[in-house]
Symmetry: C2
Subunit: 273 residues, 2 copies
């Protein structure tokens, strides 16, 4: 499948969470067309093993390649943590994850050189943010904590009030926000919906870093380097693909995208091997 600068950007995630990344991409690159794939039949990836997440990621990438995408954005932190090497080896197009750009932005943000990262059990156990931060700059002190209940809270729409505040306090107390930590990386696409609650618990001296915006900036750089940026689009189209029936994706997804989703097409993934 050939591609050029009019080709769309491909984005995949395990479900609706990656729509926060798509939203950042639409704001940063408003002329670009996009194809978004949510693997809603297999969501969530965060509690699954690296082996299984890599298999699903390759199948997602294959489905997007059929739409002629010019770059693949791995909007899922868990998949970014474990599947990038396999995706880069298998695909003929550039692959951008959310962790590298998020880590780079976090390292620029901290003044105390003490950071905290929160994410799904899969992302945190992989050590991917910790490694990416160490690769950006030595001498950073990184605390990490898995917060498995944040995803269901965000999807349930319980993003304010007593329950999320208590859950956040339970996760963020106990050493994560140790003395001097001034930067907290939201290492899961769902967490921006809980940003207000998390900010309140973390306190005013801590800056939250959202990997979605950092990833969108990085996609713009990657496309510019290869002269693949759309400059004169006749039309800008946004397509949505899902692997389960679309109703719940359309309903919950609108909260993540910040605007209504007109429709989504259900497809079957072909697993390799």
């Amino acid at each position: 499948m050939r591609f050029d600068r009019h080709s769309p950007i491909g984005v995949f995630d395990s479900g609706v969470g990656g729509l926060t990344v798509l939203k950042a991409l639409m704001e940063r690159l408003p002329l670009e067309s996009t194809v978004y794939l949510g693997d809603t039949a297999r969501v969530p990836y965060g509690t699954k093993s690296g082996e299984v997440v890599t298999k699903y990621s390759l199948a997602n990438a294959d489905a997007l390649l059929e739409y002629g995408v010019k770059v693949l954005v791995v909007a899922c932190n868990t998949a970014s943590a474990v599947a990038l090497p396999a995706l880069r080896e298998a695909l003929p197009i550039p692959v951008v994850g959310v962790i590298g750009p998020g880590a780079a932005l976090a390292a620029q943000t901290t003044k105390s050189n003490k950071l905290a990262v929160i994410g799904t059990p899969g992302t945190i156990a992989s050590g991917a943010y910790q490694q990416a931060l160490a690769a950006v700059r030595g001498g950073l002190e990184v605390h990490a904590q898995a917060c498995p209940l944040f995803v269901p809270l965000a999807e349930e729409g319980w993003t304010e009030g007593e329950v999320p505040a208590l859950v956040a306090a339970r996760y963020l107390s106990g050493g994560l926000l140790a003395e001097g930590v001034d930067t907290l990386v939201l290492g899961c696409t769902h967490y921006p919906l809980l940003a207000e609650v998390i900010q309140r618990v973390a306190g005013p001296t801590v800056t939250l870093v959202d990997s979605a915006r950092a990833a969108a900036d990085h996609v713009a750089e990657v496309l510019a380097e290869r002269d693949l940026l759309e400059r004169d689009a006749k039309t800008t189209e946004h397509h949505y693909l899902v692997t389960d029936t679309p109703a719940r994706f359309i309903e919950v997804g609108a909260r993540f995208l910040g605007k209504p989703i007109a429709g989504a097409k259900q497809i079957d993934l072909k697993l390799r091997g």
Copy 2:
């Protein structure tokens, strides 16, 4: 694949939750060997469509048939709600779900004829408990509520204290426990782990009904009718199969089974069509 009374009982679930049903089976039928399959690569089923859950259920059943099981127990409430007709049409062995037996026990339990059912969004939206209760006896008033956060709370091990109490209060207030409701059906295999918290919020006039024990009794009846009950086992074996890597299943599963799990074998499912 032939089977006789020495053949094992096959049980499947989307993950660890069905181990509460396996536990009830082991207590009710201690001579029987079992093969348990947790589809941990695709967990959870509760937020997925009936179409997708049915496809996964058939693949789970096919995998268990290869072990020569003499009866299939669908330990997952969501799969019991949507996939039983397809499973019964496709399989050469009896298929027992958890909803029919749970509804029958609930109808025997209530004195006021006013019941409440809680479960995953998939189970509640299917209306399966509501229909099964209506089929057992007319004139029952049934209230229903989806409680999506209960599953992650149980898996996280947050089964006591302030957070589960607040979450339970939020779900169970607002009409579910309307005047006169005296019976509450735990329509999800995870919920028995939260039974104490739920009982405290529901109050002493409400009796909790656990579908797992009711299903185990029904399996015993089905096997007895067909002269398939194990009476003189030389050995009793319990095998565990999973579709993702076994580590997390073994760790979290022990809490659901109430005893350690020695090991689990990872298999790939073959999806039909």
